[in-house]
Symmetry: C2
Subunit: 246 residues, 2 copies
């Protein structure tokens, strides 16, 4: 089993990262974009189209009739949008069989920033184990893969505890020797310290506290739930889809 | 005893941080700028003048005859400079009674970025306890202080484990209730996990490994030593000096 090089990187807005072309990137935005995308796909959503701005979302809908608009600014649904950024908005009755054009402050920008990578997948606690297994297979299948980049979409470019915990659990679940950068080492230690009281640790983070104060406590609790959705979402040809050829 | 608001921030280059005017900022660059500054002051250096570029350093020397030039690029001393960024360069025979004009990749830039704060101090493991005590006094003395910002100069704007450990120890040594941002919570946990094997943890960081590979292992070991220098350096009127009116 070869040693895998794992870099955990904080989000840096939507600037496209330049050196990813031989890498597998896993984008994490626990609160809430990637958790919500995984949930949407599990509920029958056909694809999510991540866009950077509300204007781009509205334009895109002209090209994709029948699709829904989703996302947030300052954690809240935007005027004229069908869905917010809460996973509970993305129920089967609303998203089943449909495309959602989505723009969020951090998550969708991070996906676009990573678009040049060999593979771009999304993780959250909800689907963590499935992603970890898929990463393991991919590393075996593609010996020329340049490594794994875990891209924490975070909160407006700042260090974000929930995403870092999730990165740490992903590293732990890989269960193989890894060469880690500083943030990777930190993520592993921080997840280890939070294990067993993860929902409290996430609720106590800056973003967790803000969402609770806005009335989204149930979202925070749901997003802290591990391994309930066996889905690996991938960004392919401009859309986030359920990756089935694993 | 009032609750203190503590934000740990990663370095963001030399962009001046805008909202610091009522805050006490402690700049940390364990490997090696703030460790070296503390050492220089302990060895009789009169003041350190942080500048952003080698050109600015050379210009400044014209205005300050008799001063020395110090600093690094890519961890190495620059041509024409008297001193590098190793604390072992800053011995009493060289720096005693003199000013050092200094430019480093991260530390001196972070000091300049924080220049608008009410107070700007420097910490390293070497002088940690003295800084922690002084912070405690300052918080009591100035009830209108807007909080403490711990500014991790890091490695070219990336998350840096040694600085984060040091921030964590500073939070621990404050010994008072603190309202922490995510990176502050992480710093406290990460220091707790590294306590007892701090030199190894620092050597195992990205920056630690790079310095060891360049032959600076003794620097790394020295910079991981706690509380041997009872000095609080402060940035006052463009210079880093030993703060004696505590």
């Amino acid at each position: 089993m070869n040693i895998i090089k794992v870099e955990v990187l904080p989000s840096a807005g939507s600037a496209i990262l330049p050196y990813l072309d031989d890498k597998l990137v896993v984008v994490i935005d626990v609160l809430r974009a990637t958790s919500t995308m995984v949930t949407a796909l599990a509920n029958g959503c056909q694809a999510i189209v991540p866009v950077l701005t509300a204007e781009e979302a509205v334009e895109k809908r002209w090209a994709l009739p029948g699709s829904l608009l989703g996302g947030e600014r300052r954690s809240l649904r935007m005027e004229g949008f069908d869905l917010g950024n809460s996973p509970f908005d993305y129920v089967p009755e609303k998203v089943g069989g449909k495309r959602v054009i989505m723009t969020t402050t951090n998550g969708t920008r991070a996906i676009r920033a990573a678009a040049g990578a060999k593979h771009v997948w999304m993780a959250s606690f909800l689907n963590l184990q499935s992603v970890a297994r898929a990463v393991g297979h991919k590393v075996e299948e593609e010996p020329d893969l340049g490594g794994l980049v875990i891209f924490c979409a975070g909160t407006e470019g700042r260090f974000d505890l929930p995403d870092t915990f999730c990165a740490g659990l992903l590293i732990q679940e890989l269960g193989r020797e890894a060469e880690l950068n500083d943030l990777g080492q930190a993520a592993r230690t921080l997840y280890g310290a939070a294990e067993g009281h993860l929902p409290d640790a996430i609720r106590g983070s800056e973003h967790g506290r803000r969402l609770v104060s806005l009335g989204f406590e149930q979202d925070v609790i749901y997003c802290a739930t591990c391994n309930i959705l066996p889905i690996v979402p991938a960004f392919v040809e401009g859309e986030v889809v359920w990756l089935t050829d694993l």
